[in-house]
Symmetry: C2
């Protein structure tokens, strides 16, 4: 079933705001068997909105429109849709009650024109907005269905999940079911991934396999189609993803929307390990990622950002002579940082990062992008350490990001495989 998405707003057209609604709606529509074939963005302009809606209704079965449902005069989406579909605007009593109730709940008096938001095209049926004041609605026009939702991302998302998807389900005439699985990989290039999965057999008529680089990760996408049922599509997608995962081994760290920090956090909780982090060039990014996960206080004990050499000595007990001999960016100092944070925190694992994030600070021997990771762990009653140097590429932000990713990956590998003999985890 073909779909179209229309997003409305001058702030989108002028480039002030990145439109994240479109990709969200698209991903969710796919799960309901609706395949987006066009997406259009127009400004707060009645003629342009009406034109876009008219064209969409010609081309697609399911149309989702977001934005321009607020109470101010430049919110003209409903008026434009009424024009495109040749409907009158009607004050919907249930929508009006919702709006009044929402303002009351927040303890503020509704603005004079609040009920403008309850004016919807004749025949429209309200979709409840559980968060904000602007209700959404949908219109059935012949065999087409037009959904109209507010543009505030949080509101729009809930209304897609709780409203649009279940309404589409009751329509019950999906001609294709689509399920997507994503395998998340770090540390392999596209050609390395291809080499591993090239002999995996799958039904090419029903499954599409794609490759998506999302720095610093690579994602393998498996999209399955079925004309029978959602369960059928789900099964094909799952079987193919499982086969790919088997071929890729433990280089696949997660699935679908699992982040590396969420995977590592989950493993730390399950296995009862605690961790502490000592960072230099990443400046707290590793600690921030490890603590972004709810419940992280059960595994994350402490972090230090030892930016100056003084702080490496003061916070981590690193011998200044070691820094003088090998340099702050070295495997020796990475090891000492990992050992220092482990011993001072009594964590099971100490993890460290020291490097040159740039743009300045590089030297011939240690150019921008040189990064050492270190890890300290218990080894039969004593504390052992590993460290390894990498050369990363990109700007400051990218080098910091891939460094923190690699440190998280070291924790993951240690928890899966135990310590390496020496060098890289």
């Amino acid at each position: 079933m073909k779909g179209e998405i229309i997003t409305i707003g001058n702030e989108l057209l002028s480039g002030l705001v990145v439109d994240t609604n479109r990709s969200y709606v698209a991903g969710r529509l796919m799960t309901a068997g609706v395949i987006p074939s066009f997406m259009t963005t127009v400004g707060d302009d009645e003629g342009a909105i009406a034109d876009a809606v008219t064209r969409a209704v010609e081309r697609a079965r399911v149309i989702v429109v977001t934005g321009g449902l607020g109470p101010t005069p430049d919110d003209i989406t409903s008026k434009s849709i009424a024009r495109a579909l040749e409907k009158r605007l009607i004050l919907d009593p249930s929508a009006e009650r919702q709006i009044q109730a929402r303002y009351k709940k927040r303890g503020i008096n509704p603005p004079a024109d609040a009920s403008r938001q309850a004016l919807i095209p004749h025949g429209g049926r309200v979709i409840v907005n559980p968060i904000g004041t602007a209700p959404g609605y949908y219109l059935v026009v012949g065999d087409k269905i037009v959904f109209v939702l507010p543009g505030v991302p949080e509101e729009m998302r809930v209304m897609v999940d709780q409203g649009v998807l279940s309404i589409l389900e009751t329509q019950g005439d999906a001609d294709v079911y689509i399920v997507r699985r994503i395998l998340r990989i770090f540390g392999m290039t596209e050609s390395q991934v291809n080499e591993r999965v090239k002999d995996v057999a799958y039904d090419g008529r029903r499954v599409t396999v794609g490759f998506l680089p999302i720095f610093p990760e690579n994602h393998l996408t498996v999209t399955a189609h079925s004309s029978v049922s959602k369960n059928d599509a789900d099964q094909i997608a799952q079987e193919t993803a499982d086969a790919m995962r088997a071929a890729l081994g433990d280089r696949v760290f997660g699935r679908d929307d699992q982040t590396l920090e969420a995977v590592v956090g989950g493993m730390l909780i399950t296995r009862g390990y605690t961790v502490a982090a000592a960072e230099s060039c990443t400046g707290g990014l590793l600690a921030q990622r490890l603590t972004a996960i709810p419940g992280s206080s059960s595994y994350f004990l402490r972090g230090v950002v030892a930016y100056s050499n003084d702080s490496k000595t003061g916070l981590l007990g690193i011998d200044p002579a070691l820094i003088a001999e090998f340099g702050a960016v070295s495997g020796e100092v990475a090891s000492a940082m990992a050992r220092g944070i482990k011993e001072s925190s009594s964590a099971d694992l100490g993890i460290s990062i020291t490097g040159v994030a740039g743009p300045s600070g590089g030297t011939k021997g240690k150019p921008v992008g040189t990064v050492f990771i270190g890890m300290a762990f218990d080894d039969g009653g004593t504390c052992s350490v590993r460290s390894h140097g990498y050369r990363f590429y990109g700007d400051r932000g990218r080098i910091r990001l891939i460094s923190s990713e690699m440190a998280l990956e070291w924790i993951r590998r240690y928890l899966i495989r135990g310590p390496s003999k020496n060098g890289e985890m």
Copy 2:
């Protein structure tokens, strides 16, 4: 002059990737007097691309198309554009040389079908891609101009800045010049901003003032139009922005694309101050933001993420009795954290954050979103401290983000105004 932007790619249509190219192109086109009125996204489908281009050429003067210029068979943008504009595809020798040179520079053999990327519609003139292999091009069709660029964001951006904008300039028939200024504000609501700026006089026929909430900040946008020259538009925009800024006072922390951490970092460098950070609920986010700025090693000495109570004692010397009496989330502990990090690091400023980021951990007295900020500073030879409690709203990510923002804002206020008498900076 009306513009349209067409982005191409199945990964955009299926919602796998958020399209950031559109907003970038839109913002840059505005500076060249081209006002985007439609944006369309289509998949790797010849008919759909040709249809979108045909419609765009009917409606707009300047069309920018991105994506689908790679060497693989699903890259069919050029073929589709040739069809829409009724041109033949021609192998462009200069494009072919560029492609070969790019592969050579990278030291890899060009794939067999590399020169597919040099097939461009007849009459197209090449736009150099200084980073990647796929060249771009533009076509003049009557009084319309169609730009075609690769979809890789880094490549596309450089080619817009170095190619598209200068080509538009040489066309020299802009009928309007548009300049936008943004004032960035933290800590005022929309109505507070309105209250301050409502009496600021400006030429409403030539200037549009808008309000844009970008959590946790609020941005005031000033867009000026001129039919005379870019300088003229620039001057009107600047004058209006200056008048607004005067009315808003030092609540405006930055302009245009300046982040709060960049502004604070710049002030720390200029005034020769050093800073150290002690964080609990933000888990390193404050340190990460302070060190995201190139050259931050001159002002950032160290950070600690004292997540456990143990680490608050071990890293910051906080008396366990203080934590027992007031709780880890309290003004008293925030003050002690700030003092502890200042004294151990010898930084000029110690800044601290402790709070409940959620989703769990809230209590009746200290619900999720309760956050205390603390600051320690030199005060005539002794170390003084301030702390203040806030109640923030949102999910874990939002509470962490606004907490780090408030801590940065405290540093900015201190550097502008000096210490507050007591309580909030």
